[in-house]
Amino acid sequence: MKKLNFADKFFPVSTIVLLIGVFWYLLAVPMNSEKVSRQFKDLPASEHILKCWSLKKPKLPTPHQIFSEIVNTTFYKKISSKRSLVYHGWITLQATLAGFFLGTLLGILLALGIVHNKAMNLSVMPWVIASQTIPILAIAPMIIVVMNSVGVTGLLPKAIISMYLSFFPVVVGMVKGLRSPDQIQLDQMKTWSASSNQILWHLRFPSSLPFLFASLKVGVAASLVGAIVGELPSGAIAGLGARMLAGTYYGQTIMIWSALFSAAFLAAFLVFTIDFLQKIILKKMAIVR
C-alpha cells in the first residue's frame, strides 16, 4: 500500500472534524435551550439558537467558546498567572514526564526480569495484570494521602500515579519484544557461546525496539491521565486536573472543557513526539525502511 502523505490525509480528517462540529452545534441547542428560555422570554427562534451557542455557563459549551477560552488563557495571560493554561499545563506536564520516565524504567526492568528469570516469569505477570484491574480513581487518593502523611507532596505523588498507569503497556510490550528473536537467531548466539548479557544487548534489545515504541505511545497517554487523576483528589490548586475540578465547583463548563481539550492536545503532542522519535531511530537502525 502506498504511504499516505499529508494531502491524502487532510481531506478525510477534516471531513470528520467538520461533521463532529456540525453535530456539536446541533446538540448544543436542545442542551442549552431550557436555560435560555429561563433567562430570556419570548425570543424569536433564530436569536434563541444564537443565545444557546453563547451562554456564559452553558450545559454544553460550543467549540468556538471553548477555543476562544483556550486562546485567551493560553496567549493573553502571563504564564505565571494562576489563570494561564500554560501554567497549569506545565505543572501537569512535569508530573506526566516524571511518571512516564519512572513507568518506562519500571516496565523495562520488570520485562528484563520476566525474560531472564524463571521465577519472575512464572510469578510477576499475574500481579502486573491485577494491578491494572484496580480502578485508578480508587487507588490515587490513597497514594496521595499516604505520601502526604510522610511529608511527600507536590510532583512526586502524581508522578507515582502516572507511573502506575504507564508501566503496564511497557512491561507487556517489552516482554513480547525481548522474546521476538526467532529460534535460529538464539541458536546462532549459542553457537558463538554468547553470554546472556551479550544476547540481550546485541539481539534482544534491538529486536524489541519497535515493540517498545508502540508501548511508549500508549504509556505516555496513560501517564497524562494518571497525572490529571492525581490532581483531582488532592485538592490541588494547580494543574489541568485542578482546573477541571475548579470548573466543576463553580459550574464553569467552558473552563472544564478548555482544560479537557488542552489535555487532549498535550496527549496528542506527546504521542506525536514519540512517533517522530520512533521514525528517526528505527530508520537510522534500518529496522524499517
Binding site: M189, W192, S193, A194, Q198, H202, L203, P206
Partner: protein, 257 residues
C-alpha cells in the same frame, strides 16, 4: 576430528516419544567434506545439531576435536551456517560479520583484518556497507557463511544453507564453496536434500532414512578433490548418484518395526 558412536536421541512430544536418531555412528576426519542426505524427518539436521551441542543425545558418545560437544561449542571449535541467513537487519554486511568477533572479544584491528579476509573469501567485496535487505538471497547466504568463517574455527557445520535458493545460484555457490574448502582446508559437515549437491560437494556422503532416523549408507567418494561442475556428467558421478538414490529407496521400503 568428529566422532559419533551409537547415538540415540528421542524427543518427547505430545504424541509420544519420537525416535529422531537411532544407533548412529560416524567418523569425520580432518579436511573431510561430509554431506548428510535424506528425506525430511531422517534426523540429518538433528545429527548436525547434536555435533553442535544444540541438542543433547539420549544415549551414545560424541566428541568434537576430542572434546564433548558442549565444550567444543564453548571453545568455538565450529562455525554454524543456518538454513536462513539470519543476518541482523540493523547491521551492515561487515557489521554482521563482526558480530561474532565482537562477542568473542577480538580487538578492533583484528576485527577489521578478519572481516576483510572472509569478505575476500566469499567474494563480497564492495558490499561491506550494504544492509542485508539490499542483497539478493544468494549474497545474504554468502555473508552468513563469511560470518561463520570469521573466527576461523576449523569445522564448518552447514544446515541446508542453499535450500532456499534457485538452482542457478545454488550451482554457483556450490562451486564457490568447494573452492573455499580447497583453499581453507576446513572440515565441513553439510546437510542437504539434493542428490547432485551432495555428490558434487562431498568426499563422504552419509545417506539417512526416517522413522527412526538412522544411517543407511556411507559412501566414500572416489571423485578427485579438485572438481568443477562438468564432473556431474561423468560416469563416476552418475554411479555415485545412483548409489545414493538406492540408499534412499532402501530406507523407504525397509521394514523397521
Amino acid at each position: 576430528m568428529i566422532s559419533v558412536s551409537n547415538v540415540n536421541l528421542t524427543f518427547e512430544t505430545n504424541d509420544g516419544p519420537v525416535n529422531a536418531l537411532r544407533d548412529v555412528s560416524l567418523e569425520v576426519n580432518e579436511g573431510d567434506f561430509v554431506s548428510f542426505i535424506g528425506p525430511s524427518g531422517c534426523g540429518k539436521t538433528t545429527l548436525l545439531r547434536v555435533i553442535a551441542a544444540l541438542e543433547t543425545p539420549t544415549e551414545g558418545k560424541v566428541t568434537v576435536n576430542n572434546m564433548i560437544p558442549d565444550d567444543a561449542r564453548k571453545a568455538r571449535e565450529y562455525g554454524y551456517v543456518f538454513q536462513a541467513a539470519g543476518l541482523y537487519p540493523w547491521r551492515t554486511v561487515s557489521g554482521n560479520i563482526k558480530l561474532p568477533l565482537e562477542i568473542m572479544g577480538y580487538s578492533a584491528s583484528e576485527k577489521e583484518d578478519r572481516t576483510r579476509k572472509v569478505i575476500d573469501l566469499v567474494e563480497l567485496n564492495g558490499f561491506e556497507k550494504k544492509f542485508p535487505w539490499q542483497l539478493s538471497g544468494g549474497m545474504q547466504q554468502r555473508a552468513s557463511i563469511a560470518r561463520a568463517l570469521a573466527f576461523d574455527a576449523n569445522i564448518l557445520l552447514m544446515d541446508e544453507p542453499f535450500g532456499a535458493l534457485d538452482e542457478i545460484v545454488r550451482d554457483r555457490l556450490n562451486g564457490e564453496l568447494l573452492n573455499l574448502w580447497g583453499r581453507t582446508g576446513k572440515t565441513i559437515c553439510f546437510v542437504t536434500h539434493s542428490i547432485p549437491e551432495a555428490v558434487f560437494l562431498s568426499t563422504k556422503i552419509v545417506v539417512m532414512s526416517p522413522r527412526p532416523g538412522r544411517i543407511t549408507d556411507i559412501i566414500e567418494s572416489p571423485l578427485p578433490n579438485n572438481r568443477d561442475l562438468d564432473i556431474r556428467d561423468s560416469q563416476e558421478f552418475i554411479k555415485i548418484a545412483q548409489r545414493v538414490r538406492e540408499g534412499l529407496k532402501a530406507g523407504q521400503t525397509e521394514d523397521v518395526f
